[in-house]
Structure formats: C-alpha cells, structure tokens
Point group: C2
DNA sequence: ATGAAAGCGCTAACAA
DNA sequence: TTGTTAGCGCTTTCAT
C-alpha cells in the first residue's frame, strides 16, 4: 500500500480511501491511485484491515457434521446470507463433542468473527457467558443451549414428533417404537416428549413405550434390527425414527428383515418419495432455520437490542405411504 | 496481553512465549503468566497473530454448492484434515459462476489463507497465476483448471463414464442417452468423452448419440421427461445420468412417466439400494478426493516442491438393478 | 531466560 | 480534498 501511495504520489490514507470506496476523493486522484493499484497488482490485506477495524468481515458457524445433509443445508443457507452482507464464512463441525465445540467457539471468537452461530452440542453452555463478553452476537440453531439465554431458532420438535406418533396411532398402531438421538441433546428430549405425549393422549402408559437411542445410521440399523427380531407379541408394529440418520439406518434394517413395519421419520430427505415404500416424514426446513438465524445475527449487528428472542418454526407431516401401513 | 504482562510482572514477549508454548521460559515464570491469563480471562487475538506471522492459520475451500451432498462430503473431509493441522476452514460456494469463484479466491488470498483448495468452475483460470504469486499452495479438486497447471486431484471420469455405458451396451442397449452437466465444465467433457468412446467401441456412431445437458435436478427432470416422451423408435432404452443432481431429476421423470428405462448414474447416493428399482451407479469418493487434496496442500506447505502433481482416483461400478434392465 | 524496540498492513482521529 | 500521526495486538530480531 505504501508502494501504491508512492507510485500515485499520494498518501497512504488516500489509497486506503480509494480501496474502501470512501467518498471525498477527487475523481482524478482516485483514478491515479487505481492505476497504481493495477500496475503494482496491489491486493489489500484483509487481515490487517480487520485487525485495525476490530471487525473480521467473517462469521463463524459451528455445526455437528458437515457431511450430514441437514447441516450442510443449514450451512448453505447461512453462507448465502453471510455473502449478502459481504462476509466470509468459517465453518467447523464438532460431532456432538462438547469439548470440541468449545474449542471451535473459542477459536472463532479469537479471530474476532463478527457473529457466531452454533448448533449446541449437549452439556452446559454457560462458558459462552464469559467468552462472548465482547458483545459478539451469538445465535443458537436447532437446539436451545443450556445454561445461557441466547437468540435461538428451533423447529417445533415436540409438535412434529407428536404429529408423527398421532398419525401412527390413527392408523391403528399401539406398539410404536421410537429411535432417537442421544438423550443429552435438546432435540432428543423434545422428540421423546412428543412421542410420550401422543401415547399418553391415546391412553397408553409407560409400559407401552418402546424407546431406543442411536447416534448414527449404523447404530440405528442395529437397534431396529433388534426390535424387528422381537417375538411377535412384543415387536413394534410401527417405528418413529428421530432424525435423518436414524431413518436411513432403520430403512436398511427394515429392508434386511423383509418387514413391512410402518415408519414415520423426522426430517425429510431426497428421494423419500421414490423408495420402495415411499417414506412418510415430518419435514423441517434446515435452510429456513439457517437463513433466519443468520438474519437474527445481522439484526443484532445492526444494533437491534432487546432480550434474547426465541423463534419456533413449524414442522409439516408429509404423507407418502410408509406411515399409513396397517399394524 | 499488556495487562497480563503487567499483572505477571513480565514483559510482553514473555507472555507471548507462554501463549505459544515456546521453550526457554522458566516454569515458575510461565506459571505466573498462566495465572495472570486465567485471572484476566485473556484470549489472544488470532487476527493480530496472523497478521504479524503472515500466516492465517486457516485454509480456504471454494466449491460449487455446499448443499450438494457431493460437495459437502468433500468439504467435510477437507475440514477434518485442516483440523488435524490446527487450521480453521473458510468455505465459499460459487455455484458454477466463474466471476463469483474469482471473487472468493481473491478474498481468501487477501485474508492470507495458508492454502487454497478449489473446484474450478468453467472458464479460464490463468488469473490464478498472478493472484497466487505469494506462493500459497493451490490445489484443484474434482476438475482441472484451464489456463494454469495446478496440483490436481480428480476421479477417473472418463473411465467411469465408459464403464457405465459399456455396462448398458452389454445389457443389449443401443439407444443410450446421456444427460450431463454444462459443457464448460471439465468433468462434463470427460464424461461425455467416455460415453462417446464406449458407443464408438460398440460400433455406434455420431447418429446414435443422444446428448442432453442439465445444470440442476429440475432441468434434468425436464430433459428426461422429453426423452421419454419421444416416439418409441427414437426413445432411448437406457439413460446415463452424469451426476448426482441429474440422477435425482431423471429418477423423478422416469417415475412420473411410469417407465422402466434402464439407468446408470454417475455418483453414488444414500439409499440408492432401497429405491423401487435400486440404482446402479458409478461411485467416486468425494471424501477421498477432499482428504487427498488437503494432504497435498499440507505437503506443499511442508516444503515439498516439484512440478504440479496429478492424481486420478478410480471409479467403481456398483450394480444394483437399474442398469441391468433389458431394452 | 528475559526484555526492548520495531513493525506486520492497515484505518481512526484529527489536522491542514 | 488530502495528509499526518498513532496504534490495532501481536511476534520478530536482537540485545542483555
């Protein structure tokens, strides 16, 4: 930049003005500077600029697993909003590991990201209180973070789960199993609660619950294989699978067992309509969630204050066949 | 950091040494500094550190579309390698837009990323020659960048395409249509070339080619719907779909038309085995590609020199049913 | 083993 | 409209 200034015969600050499109530079001067920039192939250092300004020109996103379509859809929406604001996007996956999540959060904040969005893994998040003293907008997506009040946007997990199980009940099922994520995760709690509420409303009690957990598609496949191998009078006639990974595992197990067990999954997925038995799902929109979360963050950056906001996005039951199989 | 130094009664430099785990600090001094860090809740500013060091502690990845499972799988693998090296990951999608790609590349370089991986969109990439003068390792994934020689890692697109079409030919097909991506993209050229080679080797000529392009699943669905609506003596009896988006679109069109047209797709996808007609595909590994590309970048950072390297990963034909349907 | 001084490349604040 | 000065928070170099 010094070289550009010398070449153009102006001061450093004038070059800075031109680079940043500040007004109040005479057009003729600006042109001279632009020529010099061109000739020297000058590229400003955004790191230095960020340091001086105290703003990074980037936002951070911490998710569980970039390879999971739910999270990549979410990330894609966040990316788009960031881009509209001229920001770059730092992404990190923590794989439901609280320690790793914290590490990523800390590193992002140390890079002075302008805002931080995260899908909180299980565990206490009060550490965010001190980490974010700096006033960096913090938004929680998909789940509530425990131990701290943040701007949060989630799907109506409980309502969606209840709709799924109600649907199965309405089709005559009484032995309905749920396979869901780790209990430490907020979404799990909600989805399980929805399951129990629906059973309860149908007059079914604790003894009628069949609850399994699975963290991966493989674990889900194993769990469902076990369920389908139960003696007929204990075997569930219907499955409620608590997320997209679990649904995939369950479908494989169901296929391997040659079973026609009814199934409703949480999370829609591509080609669900073209499966051998088209899959009935509770749909939530990862993209919408990502978009809204990013917009909340930018509203905060824009000076919007007030207490942490909570947004709940509705879920939608998409009927395709697998949920309408009779017991 | 100044405050920490004052609190611990040492100089700035000593704090810096402790923060960076440099040796040659007496343990007792180090402990005093660590106490001060703790008490003041000091967090070093990575931006400042990066500026001074001239290295960002991050790498950049430019892909086409984060919401596409192929690219998110690739990104996930890159992320993992970056993490192993203590680096953060900047991601940007350019949606096959050359101008947007360049913008992202420039911004990443201005942030002094330590290495840059990119899936080159169509168009000339000689601009990279000047942009990367700084000696930042540049690796091209999934495609060759035209106009510049870069470390590049691709799948054997031509071989994979040829295997797909050979397979259809072996099952008696003679009117085989290909639906592939934009012609400006390197992978398209290779996959089309493989298609033509296979036809040629079977004694079929230009007149026997049925070639369509589609950039999205929707466009592919429309293109395939048209093909399937052709009079029977012109209608293709088999489809070779050139990427995962196109396969999805084609499957929908095929289903809507109630057709039993044979189909082999490029790119494997989840649940392909559980579709009504399980889908035969040519599988490539996005994860492997991402991992290897990142490792090449780190090898370069490690001082490895020599001319740009080319790595070609093999593809694998996965037989599931849709490719074995008779004409 | 520790510290002082200089400066990475830029922009904010103020001055001319 | 343009320039000067100071300094963002850290690390390098060199001295002690």
């Amino acid at each position: 930049m010094r070289d550009v200034a010398a070449t153009a015969g102006v001061s450093l600050k004038t070059v800075s003005r031109v680079v940043n499109d500040e007004p109040s530079v005479r057009e003729e001067t600006a042109q001279r500077v632009r020529d010099a920039i061109e000739r020297l192939a000058f590229a400003p250092n955004e790191l230095a600029s960020s340091l001086r300004r105290g703003r990074a020109g980037a936002i951070g996103l911490v998710i569980e697993d970039l390879a999971n379509p739910f999270y990549s859809g979410l990330a894609s929406a966040v990316e788009q909003v960031a881009d509209e604001h001229g920001h770059l996007l730092l992404i990190g996956s923590c794989g439901e590991d609280a320690a790793r999540e914290r590490e990523l959060v800390v590193r992002f904040l140390r890079r002075a990201v302008d805002a931080l969005l995260l899908v909180p893994a299980g565990g206490d998040h009060s550490y965010l209180l001190s980490e974010s003293g700096a006033g960096v907008p913090l938004v929680s997506l998909d789940r509530f973070a425990s131990g701290i009040e943040l701007d949060t946007i989630v799907s109506d997990n409980r309502g969606g789960a209840r709709a799924a199980v109600d649907h199965l009940l309405a089709h005559g099922h009484r032995r309905i199993a749920v396979v869901a994520d780790r209990p430490s995760v907020w979404t799990w709690q909600e989805r399980i609660a929805g399951y129990r509420e629906a059973l309860g409303a149908a007059g079914l009690g604790e003894g009628d619950r069949i609850e399994r957990t699975a963290a991966t598609a493989d674990e889900a496949q194993a769990a469902v294989a076990e369920l389908l191998a139960l003696p007929q009078d204990e075997r569930p006639t219907a499955l409620f699978t608590g997320n997209n990974r679990i649904t995939v595992g369950a479908l494989h197990a169901r296929h391997a067992a040659g079973a026609q067990t009814a199934l409703v999954g949480f999370d829609d997925f591509e080609l669900a309509d073209l499966l051998r038995t088209p899959v009935t799902v509770v749909r939530q929109s990862a993209a919408e969630m990502g978009r809204v979360a990013a917009e909340i963050a930018y509203a905060r950056l824009d000076g919007e204050d007030g207490p942490p906001s909570h947004r709940v996005l509705p879920c939608e039951l998409v009927i395709r066949g697998s949920g309408e199989i009779a017991p």
